[in-house]
Amino acid sequence: MTESLLVIDNLEVEYPVKGFRRKPFRALKGVSLDIKPGECVGLVGESGSGKTTLGRAVLGLAPVTGGSITFKGAEIGHLKRRARRALSEEIQVVFQDPYSSLNPSLTIEQSLTEPLRVTKVSSPDASRRVRMLLDQVGLPSNAADRLPREFSGGQRQRIAIARALALSPQLIVCDEPVSALDLSTQARVLDLFKDIQEATGVAYLFVSHDLAVVRHLSHRVAVMYHGEIVEYGEGDKVTSDPEHPYTQRLLLAAPVPDPIRQEQRRADRSRLIEAQKEIDLQASVH
């Protein structure tokens, strides 16, 4: 058994709510998770489940109020800005919206060299690295001098991936990186994620609302609901034969692209909901 790269233990995140003496909003209520080197852990949930908050907490962008995040044995949940910056070489991010994750007024090269400049890479080296990165994500090297608006959503997401790879990190937090993309583009970008993982051994925390996307890419899958992880296990098992009632509902809610099987799934879903209602009713009686 290899040692875990990232261990999240009983993590709590609370956002202050505006107003005098209002109770803060608890986005995460004690979440535990671990990621091994080279592993992809999928994090599924609906909007408001806290999945994005968990990703942001790992990146140091959310206020951690309890529990711990340990990266390679060191606690990183409560680091100050300056100490946090040193981690940029190890933990990187790819965001959901390819339109706002690149500064519209900087060229691709300027965006890609940004992380390199922080680590004092000389500019000819940085330039060479940029071309290498663009090549790695399947973009021509002349893309470097262009502005983000000249690229489609899928191309921008490739650029965002290149930026995340610039410092050869060990973990990339991917926050819904394909949900804004078209179907055919989505499949290709997912394959790129897979190829890069196989080539570099980077680990992913892959956040998505789409069970099918997570299943395609993740070794293990965690399901979040109302700020808690309700199910965590092997990817295939969680996404095809889940145990928790919520995961079951989630699985059956996604329509299958086949009219005949979808009719079947619809029937299964209403049966499941009826059955779960029954159980809830019995639980409330006792």
Partner: protein, 609 residues
């Protein structure tokens, strides 16, 4: 659809690379921009070349020749102290502009830096600085300037510097709001994750975005500063020893009856400069805003540009599965939709679409972004955005050609016979009216029923679409209901006037998957109950499989394959449809468990300290 290949025309690339020079060129083409720039250029030139244009000392008084009319020695005559008016006017340009520039620069420095820091760090910094700004704004400007003069003595520069402090809130407010908007953009987060320090983030990412509005504000404020500065000198509060337009006005005003023409020159100079600056700022803003608009339109119409028009290609038509005796409700024939571009070219986004929807049928229009599916839906409703129009083809709806109906007649069709369910439920409810009034009012108008009757029906509808407490939702404002509830309300609205056809534009895309399943159930139930036809625009094959009797697959403004849903899902024939099906991840193989070879790989790669 080959998104990794750069299918970009070289033209926009080169045009956008030099954003700055591009803007300058557009400003030159803008009539107001050009005129104001010429005037400003001449004024600046006059200020710079003042000593060359006139040899006379502006301060040289000559009591023998006071209030002289125009002559060879004094082209614009002399003033009450016998000083040369032209020389004073030209040298006054230097002082007036320098003074205004000083005031505006002080204001911009304080305001922009304060706004950047307050907007970025918020919390403590924000409360202190907004308190200071409010205090400055509460101070009566003229009183402060008088006090400053009393304490520091009459000085043009001091007065303008104090004035700059008083004007700083104009820049602070602007910068602060702009920064707050940019601060939460993902690229700022990405830079933080990359380890970029706060100051570099502010300088690099935030300043570059707020730059344009600050430049515009600068021009506006400078126009004001010129006028205020002249005003101060005119009232005699300035430094009388330097020649400024205001001092000239002061002098001319005192001799108004003897020599009225004297007041003309400084007034003209002040008015011309202030107006030119204001117009310059206006033109700059117009050009910057226009670039935003064309950009948006380009994205909207991008698909047609990327792929060539394939009007010759025949769609694959699947055979009917059985006898269908239902009448056609909607028949779209060879529909072409285009957008007029600023350069007069028509950009086609729909290139000849034909489709039909029978009574009581659910027809799915599926395609990727930019395929023209939404454009097709909008043109059936005749709700195309500005610049868009139906170029050719007919839209036959129950015997009427909607493409050629007058706006007034179309009004009668929309909402009553054809209704619409949008993609973003929240942005389609007016936040300042209750949900109930937005539901009841159209019914009252369309069906001609009383307000009480409309309310009763609205409550029934809300109950029908599965809203647990209709009374409460009826009285609620849109922000008080969830996205799923809002979509239910809009569905209730869409069926409220008993339409024949509902056009649903990605009705579940913005919703969670469990809510989507509920909304699909609701749509299916309502469709069965009311026998209404639905044209549903979507990119999700699951939604089509769940709901549709018939499917049309769109690409580049054309339908490539159409037929009964079951036969297309069983046997997609067009290569594009086959590609789309191949990209579907549902039922795909899972990744499996992490094997140890991957572990070894990381181990050999080593851990960088």
């Amino acid at each position: 659809m080959t998104e990794s290949a750069l299918n970009l025309s070289p033209d926009p690339a080169s045009e956008q690379r030099a954003v700055g020079s591009h803007l300058a060129r557009r400003m030159l083409r803008n009539a107001t921009g050009l005129a104001s720039m010429i005037v400003l250029g001449l004024i600046v030139l006059a200020a710079i070349l003042a000593p060359l244009l006139t040899q006379t000392d502006p301060a040289l008084a000559d009591v023998r020749s006071i209030l002289q009319p125009s002559s060879a020695a004094h082209p614009l005559g002399t003033d009450s102290a016998g000083r040369d008016v032209l020389a004073r006017l030209l040298h006054g340009t230097r002082y007036s502009i320098a003074g205004a520039l000083l005031g505006t620069t002080v204001a911009a420095m304080i305001g922009v830096i304060g706004g950047l820091l307050a907007g970025y760090y918020q919390k403590g910094f924000e409360s202190v600085s907004s308190w200071l700004v409010s205090a400055i704004m509460a101070l009566p400007g003229i009183v402060v300037l008088l006090a400053a003069r009393a304490v520091l003595g009459p000085s043009l520069w001091m007065a303008m510097a104090v004035f700059g402090v008083l004007l700083a809130p104009a820049f602070y407010r602007l910068t602060y709001t702009a920064v707050v908007n940019v601060r939460h953009e993902l690229f700022v987060d990405a830079a933080r994750v990359s380890g970029v320090g706060d100051l570099s983030i502010i300088g690099r990412h935030i300043l570059s975005v707020v730059r344009a509005p600050i430049i515009i504000q600068f021009a506006f404020v400078m126009g004001i500063a010129i006028a205020i500065q002249a005003g101060l000198d005119f009232l005699g509060l300035g430094d009388q020893s330097v020649p400024t337009w205001g001092n000239m006005l002061n002098d001319a005003f005192a001799r108004m009856y003897k020599s009225p023409v004297l007041i003309v020159w400084p007034s003209l100079a002040v008015a011309l400069t202030s107006t030119a600056l204001a117009l310059f700022a206006n033109a700059l803003r117009d050009e910057l805003e226009r670039s935003g608009k064309t950009k948006k339109r380009r994205r909207l119409a991008g698909a047609a540009a990327a792929a060539p028009v394939l009007a010759g290609e025949e769609a694959v038509v699947h055979a009917e599965l059985g006898e269908d005796t239902r009448a056609d409700l909607l028949t779209v024939d060879s529909l072409v939709v285009g957008y007029d571009q600023p350069d007069g070219i028509l950009k086609q986004v729909v290139n000849g679409v034909s489709l039909r929807v029978k009574r009581g049928e659910v027809h799915g229009l599926i395609g990727e972004s930019g395929s023209g599916k939404t454009q097709t839906a909008w043109s059936i409703l005749r709700l195309l955005p500005d610049g868009g129009r139906i170029v050719a083809g007919t839209v036959n709806f129950d015997g009427k050609d909607l493409a050629h109906l007058s706006d007034k007649e179309m009004q009668k069709v929309r909402g009553r016979r054809i209704s619409y369910i949008p993609q973003e439920p929240m942005s389609n409810l007016d936040p300042s009216f209750t949900v109930g009034s937005q539901l009841a009012e159209p019914m009252r108008l369309a069906l001609g029923i009383s307000a009480a009757e409309a309310k009763k029906r609205a409550l029934e509808l809300l109950a029908r679409v599965g809203i647990p407490n209709p009374e409460r939702t009826y009285a609620a404002y849109p922000h008080e209901v969830s996205g799923g509830m809002a979509q239910r309300v809009l569905i209730a609205g869409a069926v409220s006037c008993e339409p024949d056809l509902v056009i649903a534009d990605e009705p579940t895309t913005a919703l969670d998957v469990t809510v989507q399943a509920e909304i699909l159930d609701l749509l299916r139930g309502l469709q069965k109950e009311l026998g209404v036809s639905i044209l549903i625009v979507t990119h999700n094959f699951g939604v089509v499989a769940d709901l549709c009797d018939r499917v049309s697959v769109m690409r580049s403004g054309l339908i490539v394959e159409t037929g009964p849903a079951r036969s297309i899902f069983a046997d997609p024939r067009h290569p594009y449809t086959q590609d789309l099906f191949a990209a579907i991840l549902e039922d795909g193989a899972a990744r499996g468990q992490l094997d140890h070879s991957a572990d070894r790989h990381t181990a050999t790669q080593g851990v960088t300290p």
